[in-house]
């Protein structure tokens, strides 16, 4: 089993990049790989609970919750989240909030890292 770390710095609402990240993580997990997802910058939006589902927007909360239940680590940058006004109590259950060095530590133990920068 190998490990993939994905850094996602892109936003949820209005961007399809988080859809890409979630689908890639899902496919990697199905093949038995470990997956860490680091959400930074606008990517932290993916970690906020209470997002209402509209057909016109990507809605990934259920899928990513299932991934977390299935062993994927999803961790959001604490400073990026706080800067956007959502706090620990707004975090989806099972997700983590850490400082940026967590991402580098995840990279350390990863076999592959896919860093997806912001817009």
């Amino acid at each position: 089993m190998s490990k993939l770390t994905i850094g996602c710095f892109s936003s949820l609402v209005g961007s399809m990049t988080t859809d890409f990240v979630v689908k890639l993580a899902e496919a990697a997990r199905k093949k038995g790989h470990d997956v860490d997802i680091w959400l930074s910058g606008n990517g932290t939006m993916l970690s906020k609970k209470g997002q209402r589902s509209f057909k016109d927007y990507s809605s990934l909360e259920k899928t990513i919750k299932d991934l977390v239940t299935g062993g994927v680590n999803v961790v959001a940058c604490e400073a990026c989240a706080e800067a956007r006004g959502f706090h620990k109590e707004d975090l989806i259950d099972g997700f983590g909030r850490k400082s940026m060095d967590w991402y580098l530590a995840s990279c350390f133990s990863a076999d592959r890292v896919l860093q997806i920068g912001g817009e």
Partner: protein, 98 residues
Amino acid sequence: MKLGVFVSQYSRENDTLSRLKAEKLGVILVQNGVYNAALKEDGKSSPILDKDATIYALSEDLQSRGLGVGNVDSKVKIVDYDGLVDLIFNEYEKIIWL
């Protein structure tokens, strides 16, 4: 180095991509990058397809944009998300996203 490069934008020229060198290079077209696999501007294919690299395009992103297999240049291999995972772990040592 075996380098897999994800290209997520449609652009006929990509300054960074054109400079990257690797013993084995793969260009993986995703998101709007898949237009590079199918569009012919003024009858000409994207110069990205001329790169000395194996070119892939993500099936789900082609289909989402109304691009069928028939639109895709014969140089391009079509992969799905399962295929991406295999490329990442089996074909390339390092992967980057442009």
